[in-house]
Structure formats: C-alpha cells, structure tokens
Symmetry: C2
C-alpha cells in the first residue's frame, strides 16, 4: 500500500484507473449507500470471488485516495473520501462548459 505524494495528473490517473473496474465501482456505491463506511468483511461478503481479491481491490481504492482505511480492533473499516470523487466529477464537468 504505497502512500506517496502524487502530482495532480497522477491523482487523475489513479482515480480513473480505480473507477475502471466494476467490482471497485460497486464497492464505492455500496459503501456510500451504507452511510460511507463498511468493514472489510461486509465488503468481501458482497462478492463471490475470494477474499484476497477484494483486499486487492480495496488497496487500489485506498491508493487512489477514494477510500481511507482504519483499524478498529481486529476489523478494518473502509470509509469513502468524497474529495477524490469530486476531483473526477470536476474533470468531467469541464465538458459541459464551453471550452475556454
């Protein structure tokens, strides 16, 4: 789980790459609809694939800054960071405006 400093374009890169996978999009929508936070077990239970596969997807989302993780005893809670989603939304919004 690399948490390095990123340039602006690296941020777009990580965010859009993270959003590219249907499992990761579903993780985000579900966590959001559950109030913004869920633990790893509840997230892994949503899918038929093996747990390590979910862990890997969660890493991608954390590295992209779309989720933050926090240990709570022996559970791990993943929480949505809406600022990063906002970044992607703002990029897309540029196309609704006339170009400068």
């Amino acid at each position: 789980m690399k948490r390095e400093t990123q340039t602006q374009s690296d941020a777009y890169e990580a965010v859009f790459a993270a959003l590219a996978h249907p499992v990761r999009r579903r993780i985000l929508t579900t966590v959001h609809s559950e109030g913004g936070a869920m633990n790893a077990g509840a997230i892994a239970a949503m899918f038929e694939h093996a747990w390590p596969t979910t862990t890997r997807h969660l890493h991608v989302l954390v590295d992209a800054g779309l989720l933050r993780d926090e240990r709570r005893g022996r559970e791990r809670v993943y929480r949505i960071d809406r600022k990063r989603l906002e970044l992607a939304r703002a990029w897309l919004e540029g196309f609704s405006k006339d170009p400068r």
Copy 2:
C-alpha cells in the same frame, strides 16, 4: 469496432474503462477544447507514439460511445458525444447526494 447494443451497466463499464487511460483522457480534453471535433491526423500529431496506437485508443473511445467518427473524404473526423460523459458525471454525482 463493435457497435453492439449495450446494457446500462455495460455502458458504465465501457465509459469508465475508456477514461482510465491518460492518452484517452487527453484526446477527449483536447478535442473538446478544439471545439468538439478533430480529425485523426491532428489527434495523432499530439502524441509521440505511433499512429496505430492512437487509432486503437480512438476505437476504445468510439466503442465506449464517448466519440463518434465520420468520414470526410479521406480524412476521418472524431466528434465528442457529451451524453456519455454526462452518464459518468451523473454516476459520480450520486456520491455528493445523501444515499436514499
């Protein structure tokens, strides 16, 4: 260049996968800033990589419904389809609203 009917989730799939690559995002922003349409040559000229590589990226964007292509004599014009970008933007906007 497959132009098949897509379900809604296939549409998200194609759009977000297409947006995942920096070259493809740059194609979209540049075409937009040039008024919404550019021909293949002008797009290919933006990049250092070989032309067929650009063609391939253009295909991905067309298949995702983000660009439409049109022959104009021996040139080919690519035009942005903002409706599909709107689809992605709307998906992201869901996170700014409280979950139902």
